[in-house]
């Protein structure tokens, strides 16, 4: 799935060498994937741009903590940005005062995907067709909502074991779709 492994290695090396020009390459290579996931979470273009920029600053500043032996650069940067986006919607909910139920109605996990969200990747629809609605709900809450499995169980009023089974089954389906 990584288009050219060498290219990623090279990029990692250049970022380690603090080569600022490499960040342009980084943007060209990862912005669509990062922006797509961030948009899915924050749902607002302006805010998504903010989060992406913040993510790039964080990636640059904490690049020393990226350990290539533990995984792809893609996975690491995606998690950095995804977490920032999740923090963003949580602080947004905090601001509007629903602190008692901080995870309650995050748009990102309530709706399958908003009408304005049109991922260009044709694979998404086919992919979600392979997931049952129950599985998709769980995986979306975990991945885009930042819930733990117990939080999902509590939120959906399901036994924890059921949530774990659904999560595992969903992720298994996804991992078999690797092109």
């Amino acid at each position: 799935m990584p288009p050219v492994p060498d290219a990623e290695d090279q990029l990692v090396q250049r970022l380690r060498d603090r080569d600022e020009a490499a960040m342009t390459l980084f943007y060209d290579r990862y912005s669509a994937a990062l922006y797509g996931v961030i948009m899915r979470i924050v749902q607002k273009e302006e805010e998504a741009e903010d989060v992406l920029q913040e993510g790039m600053i964080k990636i640059w500043n904490s690049f020393a903590s990226y350990d290539a032996s533990k995984g792809r650069l893609f996975t690491w940067v995606m998690n950095v940005c995804r977490n920032l986006a999740i923090d963003r919607i949580r602080s947004r909910q905090y601001r509007v005062g629903t602190r008692t139920q901080p995870l309650e109605d995050s748009a990102a996990v309530r709706e399958p995907a908003s009408l304005t969200f049109r991922p260009e990747h044709i694979g998404l629809q086919e992919m979600t067709k392979k997931l049952s609605p129950d599985q998709q709900q769980v995986v979306d809450m975990l991945y885009f909502g930042g819930y733990t499995q117990s939080e999902v169980a509590e939120e959906l009023d399901l036994p924890l074991g059921t949530v774990k089974t659904r999560a595992r089954a969903a992720i298994k389906v996804l991992s078999k779709l690797i092109r």
Binding site: M1, D17, M23, G123, R168, I171, K176
Partner: protein
Amino acid sequence: MDIQQYIESGILEEYALGVLPAANRAEVERLVAAHPELQHELNAIISGLDTYAEAHALTPPPGMRERVLAGWQQAIRAEAPGTTQASATAEPPYVAPQPAAAPAPEPVVRPISSAPEPAIREEAPRRGFGWLMAASVALLLSMAGNYVLYNRWQNTETALFAAQNDQARFAATQQAAEKQLSSQGRELAVLRDVQFQSVTLAGTPAAPSAKARVLYNPATKAVYVDVHSLPAPPAGKQYQLWALDNGQPVDAGVLAASTAAGDSLQQMKNIVSAQAFAMTVENEGGSASPTLATMTVLGKLL
């Protein structure tokens, strides 16, 4: 340890999703390193999630690239003074010429002020020589440092200038586009307005292929002219539009060169009442009454 049970506990999913506390993360990493089945399972989970993420890819809107990269650069520059020193001591990955040369003059310069005093008291000649050496080395280092900094400054200046140029260019392009958009918006509003009557002006025998259109709003008296094709007027001449009211020609204004060329709609003088419109070729600036021999197009209201 029961591998299958561990896999089913869901802890690998939580690890991949990044919601595990640090202590548990280390534990997972230890076990994964020890058990290839776990490693295999974890890899599958991670690539499954990565695939899901990639499926959501969305090309960012145009213009974001420049904004985000510029914002990023500004942010890391702003943080640089504090962090470069810290990182320089912590680890050596960034060995740019500047940090290497710049800090050097400092420690060497300091002894200059403290050295002379003891130098006078004992072993004056040798100390003096050492002092001179230290001073020359300091001077050389400082010059080298200055040179590096000067070069950096020059590069930054050039980069800034280029960026400013780019920005000015984008601003100009955008302004032009905005202007065009608003004029097209106005044209579209006229074309869509049902109150406007369209009058086709056909070519006269003098210019059979000439064709134009007048849009006339009898309620607001507004008149627009829309040229399809007109022969280019001779030098020093201009097309002039006339409204014919009960057979009397009424001046409706002259056509700008761009209008005559068919570039865009042009609003003419308001006309109170008309049954027909015509265009003649007149001296630049227009005439008080039409030169009928030069009539190029003519059309009646339906």
